[in-house]
């Protein structure tokens, strides 16, 4: 059983929902990332999504774009990100790590090399924002071969036919985008989520995480009742941005703890 699968299994047995925080690797600086991952894992992060910085993050809002720019200023590359996961794994072998980002840095490394690098580092899943299932068969065959779970996005506008298509490729969990917009926007519609989740479950027998636009503990609580996991991205990245560098770890862990309590 994969690490992601066993986390969801164990949460299910305890009647709990997964808290999935997102941080960008190398934000606010490369030295903070691994200690920050340990800290949030301790405070209740069940899975950690680690953003791979990219120069042109089209699907993200300004908050996550700025975090990417901060990381790139420090020269953070995909190689560094894999090194960070390797380092994290020396002290934590249970919290699943999902890399989230755009395809081009992976293309530059080569998919085969990337998949092997992920397996070696202890990465559990990969979400490539701009690779929909139509374009992913060849690339993701490398991930499958290395037992890395490809995580896919589903949107309010995703048709049933497309959900079926995603079902064939997705593993680990699927990530439902809770609004029409970019990450961090503020127009989340609970009724629409409640309506869509059962339709996804008709086709996909994987846990469903919901994210994009979950900015406060109240919303996180409400969303968690509808799905299996809640992804908190921009709100956490904003906390990193607003904290003095020496306070990032304590402030962000405090926030993760609040969200963890709120959804369970």
């Amino acid at each position: 059983m994969s690490r992601i699968q066993s986390v969801f299994e164990s949460l299910k047995q305890r009647g709990r929902k997964a808290l999935i925080p997102f941080i960008t690797a190398g934000d606010p600086n490369p030295n903070t990332t691994v200690p920050l991952m340990h800290a949030i894992a301790e405070m209740g992060a069940d899975i950690i999504e680690v953003g791979v910085p990219f120069s042109d993050p089209m699907a993200d809002g300004p908050t996550i774009q700025r975090s990417s720019e901060r990381a790139l200023k420090h020269g953070v590359t995909l190689h560094h990100v894999l090194d960070m996961v390797t380092e994290f794994r020396t002290k934590n072998s249970s919290t699943p790590i999902v890399l989230m980002g755009y395809g081009n840095p992976i293309e530059a490394m080569g998919w085969e090399r990337f998949a092997k690098g992920c397996a070696h580092a202890g990465v559990d899943g990969v979400l490539t924002v701009d690779f929909p299932p139509e374009e992913s068969h060849e690339a993701f065959s490398f991930l499958h071969r290395c037992d890395i779970d490809p995580i896919f996005l589903l949107a309010p506008t995703t048709s049933d036919a497309r959900i079926e298509q995603v079902a064939k490729l997705a593993r680990g969990y699927v990530y439902y985008v809770s609004l029409r917009g970019v990450t961090g926007a503020g127009n989340l519609d609970l009724a629409a989520i409640a309506d869509k989740i059962p339709r996804i479950r008709q086709y996909i027998n994987l846990p469903i995480g919901v994210g994009f636009g979950i900015r406060d503990v109240g919303t996180a609580n409400a969303v968690s009742k509808l799905c299996d996991g809640v992804v908190i991205g921009s709100r956490i990245v904003q906390e990193i941005e607003n904290s003095a560098e020496e306070c990032v770890i304590s402030n962000v862990s405090g926030l993760v703890k609040e969200f963890s309590l709120a959804i369970n």
């Binding site: 120069s55 699907a59 293309e107 029409r180």
Partner: protein
């Protein structure tokens, strides 16, 4: 070789150029590399375009608008004096600079706006670099009573103040984009974000042959009116087709426009001219096909200027319209398949051609088009006087007055 045998021409027909495939791929390039949040809207657009591209009423309205609003067909002009001075091949110019709003861009915005109208989307958005596509979008939005929002990098806003004012006069809202390199690529990112947020009522009018399927195909189709005209105008004018067709390539829409009908014409060489900035060996250029390598950006797989880690690098060109790190995927395919050749021209060479056309022909070309002219000036003297070059004069230079004056140390 003349291909007059019926069975041969039939065989040629069966292998006629027919890209992209159904999923928007030009060989390994193109495709639909976008977040799931956009897939629904792209599907809707693809279906609408498939329907209306063969709808006679739509085509008739488009033809009417191109004739009466844009001013088509644009003439072909024989640059007699300039050709004589260069002392080689004869240079003919397709006068897209004479179109309403001053460039080829309006061919596409008219088409997409008519499509938006039929899809009941009355808010249009666009990205712009030089401002030509922004102006062309603002114009058609005014013409068809649509709300218009144009995203433009703050660097480009500085370089193209007049076009910013033109867009505002036409009723558009110009949104400054200060992320990343503050140029065209960042404006495109921002427009995509707007689209994904306002997908219900908004149509995104992309200005070049890039982006996710169906944009590269659709924008090419709307601009291919240029080569459809050339292919009848040239024989009328000189009794034959040109030996070489030359166009500048940023994203590549004017080039695809003038190449498209010639792709299946044997013996017509196609040359795309990229911006070499201050030199192709340095990092101050925008020549993705000449100096880049394939990758994925802005919805499609194509040649990109990127570092070894796959981060997109900042580009430079004296012309804002060529200042883009990618290129339309069809150009990537035409390059790899060998059907077209791509070269690069430096800022200084483009400026020389700009001044030469002003002096010898009384035509002020856009700095973008000046790259194509510069290549023509370079190649013409190496060819016989019986050879014919057809250059896409894709835009007029009025918008570049401030830039050229600044470079020439002249205060206006």
């Amino acid at each position: 070789m003349q291909l007059k045998l019926p069975h041969l021409s039939m065989r040629l027909k069966t292998v006629a150029y027919n890209y992209p495939d159904k999923t928007g791929h030009f060989g390994p390039y193109g495709g639909t590399y976008v977040a799931e949040t956009l897939m629904g809207a792209l599907d809707e657009l693809r279906v609408a375009y498939e329907n209306y591209s063969v709808d006679s009423e739509f085509q008739a309205e488009l033809a009417y608008e191109l004739k009466h609003y844009v001013g088509r067909p644009s003439p072909i002009y024989y640059a007699r004096q300039w050709s004589k001075r260069l002392g080689g091949a004869q240079i003919y110019l397709k006068r897209e600079d004479l179109n309403h709003t001053g460039a080829h861009k309006i061919n596409n915005t008219v088409g997409q706006a008519l499509l938006a109208k039929r899809m009941n989307k009355f808010r249009v958005i666009a990205e712009t670099g030089a401002g030509q596509h922004g102006v062309a979008t603002a114009s058609v939005a005014a013409r068809y009573g649509m709300e218009c929002v144009v995203y433009m990098g703050t660097e480009d806003i500085k370089r193209q103040a007049t076009n910013v004012y033109r867009m505002k006069l036409l009723g558009a809202t110009v949104v400054p984009v200060s992320s990343g390199s503050k140029t065209l690529k960042d404006a495109l990112n921002e427009a995509m974000r707007d689209w994904v947020t306002n997908i219900e009522n908004t149509f995104y009018i992309i200005g070049t042959v890039a982006g996710p399927h169906p944009y590269p195909m659709m924008v090419r189709d709307f601009n291919s009116v240029v080569s459809k005209e050339c292919i009848t105008q040239m024989p009328e004018m000189i009794g034959r087709q040109p030996d070489m067709v030359i166009a500048c390539v940023g994203g590549g829409s004017n080039a695809m426009g003038i190449f498209h009908s010639y792709i299946d014409a044997p013996g017509v060489q196609l040359v795309g001219v990229e911006a070499a900035g201050t030199g192709i060996e340095g990092n101050q250029h925008a020549a993705a096909l000449t100096a880049g390598r394939p990758g994925v950006l802005h919805g499609n797989r194509t040649y990109l200027l990127q570092d070894k880690n796959g981060q997109i690098i900042e580009t430079h060109s004296v012309s804002a319209g060529l200042d883009y790190p990618g290129v339309g995927p069809e150009h990537a395919w035409l390059k790899d398949s060998g059907r077209a050749q791509y070269v690069a021209i430096e800022d200084s060479e483009a400026l020389q051609a700009f001044h030469d056309l002003c002096h010898h022909e009384g035509i002020i070309p856009a700095l973008e088009s000046s790259h194509a002219l510069a290549y023509a000036a370079k190649i013409a003297p190496t060819m016989g006087q019986d050879k014919i070059l057809l250059v896409n004069l894709s835009g007029r230079g009025d918008k570049d007055m401030a830039t050229v004056a600044r470079i020439s140390n002249i205060e206006l």
